[in-house]
């Protein structure tokens, strides 16, 4: 599979994700924030974490209005798979491809830690090797990971089975312990934890290897 990896100014997990794609035997290609791309040229798109545009205004806000995101939206509308990790998740929420928003952690501090997660609802694209309800571990590293959506929206998300991953022990005050989410059509995904940081035993875990 050809997987597009999006780079914004301030993205800092770009090379990490690029490497993850390679190690999962797929072919990564860079997608630059100022350029639109041919939606036929890739099979899926990943938006890596970091601090796009320095997290100015609101995290993900500026990036979500960039040229490359117009193509990502087009790509997503065709029902093709998009994955946002950490800041990538924030960008997808800001661009409206995923419902809700990610707020400042309850503690108002950045949190770096390993967390236990479980799959709430499966899908046919990412982490499909992990069975539903199975627990696994990934690192988190974010200052703004508290998922929020208004009550009606949240209910809809739950009713339609859009909660993808949840924290076993909530680290940041996220509503319904949500750690990962998908859209209604189940082709756009966002998660706060970093699968690319758990690919080999020396990293402290290998569960990230089950994502692509």
């Amino acid at each position: 599979m050809r997987i597009g990896v999006v780079r914004f100014p301030g993205t800092n997990c770009d090379a990490d994700v690029f490497q993850m794609v390679e190690n999962s035997s797929h072919e990564p290609v860079w997608l630059w924030h100022q350029d639109r791309f041919d939606v036929k040229s890739v099979d899926s798109v990943i938006i890596p974490g970091g601090f796009s545009y320095g997290d100015y205004l609101r995290c993900g806000a500026l990036a979500s209005r960039s040229a490359v995101m117009k193509s990502v939206s087009e790509f997503a509308e065709q029902g093709r798979p998009v994955l946002g990790i950490c800041n990538g998740f924030q960008i997808l929420c800001e661009s409206g491809l995923l419902p809700g928003v990610l707020l400042r952690n309850e503690s108002v501090k950045f949190i770096d830690d390993w967390v236990e997660l479980s799959v709430e609802n499966g899908n046919e694209y990412f982490a499909k090797k992990i069975p539903v309800k199975k627990r696994f571990c990934l690192p988190i590293a974010h200052g703004e990971g508290r998922y929020f959506a208004p009550p009606e929206e949240l209910k809809k998300i739950q009713d339609k089975g859009q909660v993808w991953l949840s924290y076993v022990k909530n680290p940041n005050g996220s509503l319904k312990d949500i750690a990962g989410l998908m859209n209604e059509k189940k082709n756009v995904f966002g998660l706060m934890p970093h699968p690319e940081r758990a690919m080999q035993s020396w990293m402290g875990g290998t569960d990230g290897g089950l994502f692509l």
């Binding site: 100014p9 301030g10 800092n12 601090f51 949190i111 770096d112 940081r197 035993s201 020396w202 990293m203």
Partner: protein, 733 residues
């Protein structure tokens, strides 16, 4: 005249020397140039004579004399650039920005060399928790480091945090950055070369922030700290991230001849040093410098310490491509001058020549001071404690002691700090800040070890010993993980060098560091001196912090800091060449003593062979015994959830003090029972039979910490105390 000297922080003698060097009195802008470049911060005028003691080199040191950071060739085509720097004064005035820009500055020193920054480490010394402003200082410094480091995408993988009253009015914030240059990547130099080449300014625009910062750092504190606020710089990590990517890109495309960051004394020091190193001249148009504030005058432009700026030299033909790369990253590149045959530097301001001066006159002719010091007695030292007091301690309840340790701010958990640091971005981290030694995976599939050193409690005991210890102890910490120390950087934080006691400690510590690093064959390749850490006459504990890098040939199975398996045999291994004692708290001089001498050669051999031994054995967990001694170290090893039970009758009969710490360098290893005898055999080979001191002291057991009949505590209880110590002492949640 007096006023003027004071304003420019020069003394009469220095003024006379300026007149001599120039053959006339300084004029206009020259005052500012001399003030900045002859400040302690830029010229190292009090320390240079002693820093020569770090001259020891081996074949792995990449020649880079006078460069921004030391570079070490670690084989397999990989080179490591690393350096440590202080940002004490700014952090005390404005903790968040001070600490953040400290991180930004040290990162620039690394990528200026063409190395990609891959790790940060922070060495922090705070005052007592109840000291004025201390809680907000702790909070501000940590969030400053966290916000900057996380945003630029460089993981902070290790650190050290100390608390002591001597830092109440002068905290220490030292940051180390480590960069990697892989095969095929270009290493950059800071030598300006090639008359006709262009001088190019890149990065953030110049503002009024930080004007006179360098000379401020060369002064003691007084009550007027608030008035110094405008001298603190403001950082923007997002800009820095763009600079890192774009600078590495232009270097790898071979578009630049030389590169230098604008650090202390800004444009002045970067341009003068680049010219002096390259033995060329420069013509610089100060009115071409991009400004934030059009009202700035030439002096302010020259001295501004605005952050995230670089100076490059490039061939004119390559400029368009260079500019294109920077534009792509959203940055401007502006030509501000040209390289000339020299030797003069000419500074222009709108058709006017402000100065025309030989940079070497300023840079190389900077004053050197042979500050007065006493020769340090380098043998058995400080032993002020009498034996009866030691005996008294024997009766203390071990259980109680364990709880006290867990609750103390010095020994309790530091995870409040490092949980705020991204420790994994870049996906190289093998061992994060929860472990005593940080490890990063290198592309060659080896593990690079990173640790900081210097135990202020040992410095308070004896400066020479403290200097040795600042290298030996972190090297031992690496050795117990199977890594061999390769090179050292330092950041020498001292009080007022004009005071003989301080200067004597400085010289002793430098000699200690030099001796230990030579003995270990781990040269001191870079460093930084921070003097005048004194507030209203009170000096800090002399604190020569160090950063070590080391290598372990295998990435997998690095021993853990914590017990992770039940039924393991636990060994206590001691270095027989150093004996001494240092108290549980180690805070007061009277609580410490040290007897005997260190044989640094044998000590180094022992550490090196220990590293070898560990890399050859299947060790599950290990730790160097540090502050708080054996009891405390074992306590920490149980924090992973697996307990320990003492089974050595020797140990049960020992009095607390002895069993706590009677030896400076000792370590603990947990090993699978099946490999026990093999390990013992290897231990015996470690040193000539007579000198091995090791014993099997117990076993790992489920959930409890048991020490004879005296101690039987559940691990959960220990953990609870440990994790709460921070919020209890500092009221920070």
């Amino acid at each position: 005249m007096k006023e003027k000297l004071k304003h420019y922080r020069l003394n009469q003698k220095e003024y006379d020397k300026i007149c001599e060097v120039l053959g006339r009195p300084p004029q206009g802008i020259e005052w500012a140039l001399f003030s900045a470049l002859w400040s302690e911060h830029c010229s190292y005028k009090s320390s240079k004579n002693h820093l020569r003691k770090f001259a020891y080199r081996n074949s792995s040191v990449v020649d880079g004399e006078g460069e921004n950071a030391g570079v070490v060739d670690i084989g397999y085509g990989e080179k490591i650039a690393f350096k440590m720097e202080s940002h004490n004064h700014p952090s005390f005035i404005e903790p968040f920005q001070g600490a953040a820009t400290g991180v930004g500055g040290i990162l620039r020193d690394i990528f200026t060399m063409g190395a990609r920054p891959i790790a940060l480490a922070d060495y922090l010394c705070f005052g007592e928790p109840q000291a004025p402003r201390m809680k907000s200082l702790v909070k501000g410094v940590v969030s400053g480091i966290s916000s900057y480091g996380n945003c630029v995408g460089v993981p902070t993988i290790t650190g050290q945090t100390e608390f002591h009253s001597s830092y109440n009015n002068n905290i220490l914030v030292n940051a180390m950055a480590v960069g990697l240059i892989t095969e095929g990547q270009t290493m950059a130099r800071s030598k300006a070369m090639g008359p006709g080449n262009w001088v190019v300014y890149v990065g953030a625009k110049t503002g009024k922030d930080g004007v006179h910062g360098a000379s401020m750092a060369s002064e003691s504190f007084d009550e007027n700290n608030d008035a110094k606020k405008p001298n603190v710089q403001i950082g923007d990590p997002f800009y820095e991230k763009l600079l890192i990517e774009s600078c590495l890109e232009v270097l790898n495309e071979n578009l630049v001849v030389a590169m230098q960051d604008m650090g202390a004394a800004g444009l002045t020091s970067s341009s003068f040093e680049m010219a002096a190193r390259g033995e060329v001249g420069l013509d610089i148009q100060l009115d071409q410098v991009p400004l934030r504030d059009s009202s700035m005058n030439p002096e302010e432009i020259l001295l501004s310490e605005s952050q995230e700026r670089m100076l490059l030299i490039c061939e004119p033909s390559k400029f368009p491509r260079l500019q294109e790369v920077f534009h792509r990253w959203g940055l401007d590149a502006q030509k501000i001058g040209e390289v000339t045959k020299g030797p003069q530097i000419k500074l222009h301001w709108k058709n006017e020549i402000l100065t025309d001066i030989d940079p070497r006159l300023i840079v190389d002719q900077a004053p050197r001071y042979d500050r007065e010091f006493k020769v340090w007695p380098k043998s058995s030292q400080a032993k002020s404690e009498n034996q009866s007091e030691i005996k008294k301690r024997k009766n203390k309840n071990l259980s109680e002691q364990l709880k006290l340790n867990s609750q103390s701010i010095e020994l309790g958990s530091k995870n409040w700090i490092y949980r705020q640091y991204d420790q994994r971005v870049g996906v190289r981290t093998i061992k994060d800040a929860s472990q005593a030694v940080g490890f990063l995976r290198m592309p060659s599939d080896r593990a690079l070890a990173i640790t900081l050193g210097c135990r202020p409690s040992v410095m308070r005991l004896d400066a020479w010993l403290g200097g040795l210890d600042a290298v030996f102890f972190p090297a031992l910490q690496m050795a117990v993980k199977g890594a061999t120390a390769l090179a050292v950087t330092d950041c020498l934080n001292f009080g007022n060098p004009e005071k003989i006691e301080i200067m004597s400690e400085f010289v002793a510590a430098v000699e200690g560091i030099a001796e230990a690093s030579k003995a270990l064959d781990a040269p001191v390749v870079s460093g930084n001196v921070s003097f005048y850490n004194e507030t209203q006459g009170q000096n800090i504990t002399s604190t020569p912090s160090t950063g070590l890098i080391g290598i372990r040939h295998e990435v997998d199975n690095i021993p853990d800091d914590f017990f992770t398996q039940l039924g393991c045999a636990v060994y206590w291994v001691r270095c027989p060449f150093v004996t001494g004692f240092h108290s549980l708290k180690g805070n007061e001089k009277k609580d410490n003593y040290f007897t005997g001498a260190i044989d640094s050669g044998r000590c180094a051999e022992w550490i090196k062979s220990l590293a070898h031994l560990v890399s050859q054995s299947n060790i599950i967990s290990s730790r160097a015994v540090g502050q708080g001694g054996l009891l405390e170290t074992l306590r920490r090893m149980t924090l992973g959830g697996i307990g320990f039970e003492v089974q050595s009758s020797d140990l049960l009969n020992m009095d607390l003090t002895k069993a706590t710490q009677e030896c400076f360098y000792e370590s603990i290893f947990a090993i699978e029972p099946s490999l026990k005898s093999k390990f013992e055999k290897k231990l015996q080979q470690l040193q000539p039979q007579s000198e091995v001191e090791f014993s099997l002291i117990g076993w790992t057991v489920p959930e409890r910490f048991k020490w004879g009949t005296e101690v039987d505590i559940s691990i959960d209880e220990i953990k609870m105390f440990h994790n709460n110590s921070w919020s209890q002492n500092l009221e920070l949640k």
